[in-house]
Amino acid sequence: MSDSLPNSYRTGPNERGLFGIYGGRFVAETLMPLILELEQAYRAAKADPAFQAEMDGFLEHYVGRPSPLYYAERLTQHLGGARIYLKREDLNHTGAHKINNVMGQILLARRMGKTRIIAETGAGQHGVATATACARFGLKCVVYMGEVDIERQKPNVFRMKLLGAEVVPAKSGSRTLKDALNEALRDWVSNVEDTFYCIGTVAGPAPYPEMVRDFQCIIGNETRRQMLKQEGRLPDSLVAAIGGGSNAIGLFHPFLDDKGVEIYGVEAAGLGLKTKTKHAASITGGKPGVLHGNRTYLLMDDDGQIIEGHSISAGLDYPGIGPEHAWLNDIGRVNYVSATDREALKAFELLCRLEGIIPALEPSHALAHAMKIAPKKPKDHLMVVNLSGRGDKDIFTVADILGVKL
C-alpha cells in the first residue's frame, strides 16, 4: 500500500490530514471553515507551554494521573509465560481513558471562546467524561446518544444528567453510536458560532484523529517511563482493545519507532468474523471507505451502505476505526487481531478472580488476546495490557449473559 517504509512512524498525518491514504477532511462545506479554525487553534495550543501546563495540572489533580503500571502477578503465574503489566486507566476519574482526551478538548474549547459543547457517545463513557469536564468549567453540554444505547446504558444516562448535561436521543438510522455521531455533526452544522464538537475517539475529519491521539499519548508516555523505572527496559509487547481506537493509539504511538516492541490491536469479533455482520472488526472484517469525515476501514455491504457493528461491549461496536490504525495495519507496524464476545467474557471473569480488578468489557478483549499469546512467550517477556476502563458499567450486561437477575 505504501511505497516505502518511513524512517519514523510518528510523523503523520500530512498537511492534508492523511496517514497514507487514510484520514482526510470529508465533510460538508459548512463545516470546513470550522475544522480549519480548530486545526489552527490546536496548533497554537500545542506550541504554547501555558496550555500544556494547564493540562498537566488538571491531569494530575483532577483526573488523578499518572495511572499505575501494575504488575499482575497472579495473572502472570496463571498464564505461565510473559510478565503481564496492566496500565490502570480504569483508575482515572470517571473510570476510563476517555477523560484524557476530554480534558484536552475542553481546555481548547475554552481557549477558543466556545460556550457550548456537543459530544456523541455509545456506551456513555465519553458522554460521562464530557459532561464531567463541562460541569467542572460551567459549560453547556449536549450529548447525543442512540435511542437503543440509551435503553441499554441507563446508569450512564443518569450520570450525565446528574452532571448537568442534556442527553438527546439519536432516533435516526440504526439508533446507535454511528447515528449519534451523525446527529452531533448535524447539530454542529446548525450551531457553528458557539459550539465545539468534542469527538470521543481518533476518528472524524482532520485534525481530530491527530488531536485526540496526542491527548491520549499520555498513556504510552507514562508507560514508557514507568516500565523503565520498574524493569529497567522497554516492554516487549503492547496489547490494547480497539473500537475507534483512542486508548490503543495512546498506548502504541510513543512506542511505534521502537522496532523491537510488538504491538497488538484487538478488535471485537462479536459472535465471530464468519457471521459477516455480527462483529465490529473493521480492519479484520471490513474494507476501506469514507464515513464521518475520514477514509478508513469500515463495516459495509457491497453497495457502500454502512452495517451496524455488534459486540458484547457497547464501546467497541462502532463500524469504523481511526485512520491512523488503518495505515498502521497496511504498513504492517501493528498486528490487528480480534477476540470474540465469549473470549472477552472469559477474560473478564478471570481478571476479577485473579487480580481483584473488574475490567470493562472493552479491555477484556485486550486481556483475551494477552491470554492467547502470553503462555507462548518466555518468562522475561514484558507485556503491557491497556486496562482502559473499569467494569462497573458492565455488570448488568454480564449478569444478563450469566443468567443472574440483579
Binding site: R16, G24, R25, F26, V27, A28, E29, T30, M32, P33, L34, S172, G173, S174, K178, D179, N182, L185, R186, V189, S190, N191, V192, G289, V290, L291, H292, G293, R295, L298, M300, D302, D303, G304, Q305, I306
Partner: protein, 274 residues
C-alpha cells in the same frame, strides 16, 4: 455545453429562474420512483436532482433521511439508481439530471467505473456533500475530465477566504445552502439570501440556485427574484411520504401528490420575470 449549461442559458433568455427538484432514487420502490421522476418535467421541474440513498446522510434532515432509508429497504442500489436514470433518458433527452449524495457508495462502486456508467446513463452533474474542495482529487477532477459537471455547495460560512477555493474546479451551477443546518430544517431568511447571492456573484459567473428549507410557492417566488434557481427537496419528499400506506408502501396517488407540489411551486417560480 452540457445539458445543465444549456438549460440555464435557455431560462436566462426566457428571463426566469430554474426550478430544481430533488427526489430520492428508489423511494419507496423502483417502479414508483420512475413514475415520479418521469412526471417531474411536465409538472414544471427544469433541473432534476436525484438522491443516491445512503445509510448515514450527515447533512440531511429527517425527511430526506427517511426517504433514503425507505429506498434502501426497498432494495435500492447504485446500479438501480443508474438504471432509473437510463430509463428516464429514453423519454427525455434534455432535462438535466444531477446525482446528489455522499461519497462512500461512489467510492465503493469505483470512481472510474461510476463516472463511465453515470455518463452512459445520462447523468449531467454531481453534488457530493462530503467532498469539499480540499478533496478535489477524489472525484471532482476525474468527473470534470469525464465531462460531468461538479456542482459545489456554498454556505453562509463560505467567507471571502474560502470562496476562491469553493468556486475553483466547479461547473454547471452553484448550490447555495441558504441556512446553517440540515436539509428541510429552517426557513431561509430572504434578506440574507439576497445579500449572500449578490456576494457570491462577485466570485463566479455560474448560475446560483438556492436551496435548503424552501417549502412554499411564496418562498419560491421570493427566492426566484434574487437567484438563478430555486431548489425544492424536503417538501417533495414529505409529500411523497404522506401519500404512502402505514407500511410505507406506494399508493396510486403517490406520483400525483409529488407532481402537484412541484406544479404549485413552479407557478411561484415562473411568476417572476426579469
Amino acid at each position: 455545453m452540457s445539458r445543465i449549461d444549456a438549460r440555464f442559458a435557455a431560462l436566462k433568455a426566457e428571463g426566469r429562474a430554474a426550478l430544481v427538484t430533488f427526489i430520492t432514487a428508489g423511494d419507496p420502490d423502483p417502479a414508483t420512483s420512475l413514475k415520479v421522476l418521469q412526471g417531474l418535467p411536465g409538472a414544471g421541474a427544469d433541473v432534476i436532482e436525484i438522491g443516491m440513498p445512503f445509510t448515514d446522510p450527515m447533512a440531511d434532515g429527517p425527511a430526506i433521511q427517511a426517504a433514503g432509508l425507505r429506498a434502501l429497504q426497498g432494495g435500492q442500489t447504485m446500479k438501480k439508481t443508474l438504471t432509473l436514470i437510463r430509463t428516464f433518458r429514453r423519454g427525455d433527452k434534455t432535462t438535466p439530471i444531477v446525482l446528489m449524495g455522499y461519497y462512500n457508495p461512489i467510492y465503493v462502486y469505483g470512481v472510474e467505473k461510476f463516472l463511465k456508467d453515470a455518463r452512459a446513463a445520462g447523468v449531467d452533474g454531481l453534488i457530493v456533500v462530503d467532498l469539499p474542495p480540499e478533496e478535489d482529487d477524489e472525484l471532482c477532477l476525474p468527473a470534470l475530465a469525464a465531462g460531468i459537471n461538479f456542482i459545489r455547495l456554498a454556505t453562509p460560512t463560505t467567507d471571502e477566504k474560502r470562496a476562491a477555493a469553493v468556486f475553483r474546479n466547479t461547473s454547471g451551477f452553484v448550490y447555495y445552502v441558504s441556512v446553517l443546518g440540515v436539509t428541510g430544517s429552517k426557513v431561509p431568511d430572504l434578506k440574507s439570501v439576497a445579500a449572500n447571492v449578490r456576494r457570491l456573484k462577485g466570485h463566479t459567473d455560474l448560475p446560483i440556485a438556492v436551496g435548503f428549507g424552501v417549502k412554499s410557492a411564496e418562498q419560491a417566488r421570493a427566492i426566484a427574484r434574487v437567484a438563478d434557481g430555486v431548489v425544492v427537496g424536503s417538501a417533495l419528499v414529505t409529500a411523497l411520504a404522506e401519500s404512502l400506506t402505514k407500511q410505507g408502501k406506494a399508493t396510486a396517488k403517490t406520483p400525483g401528490m409529488v407532481h402537484r407540489v412541484v406544479a404549485d411551486i413552479a407557478r411561484g417560480v415562473r411568476s417572476v420575470k426579469a
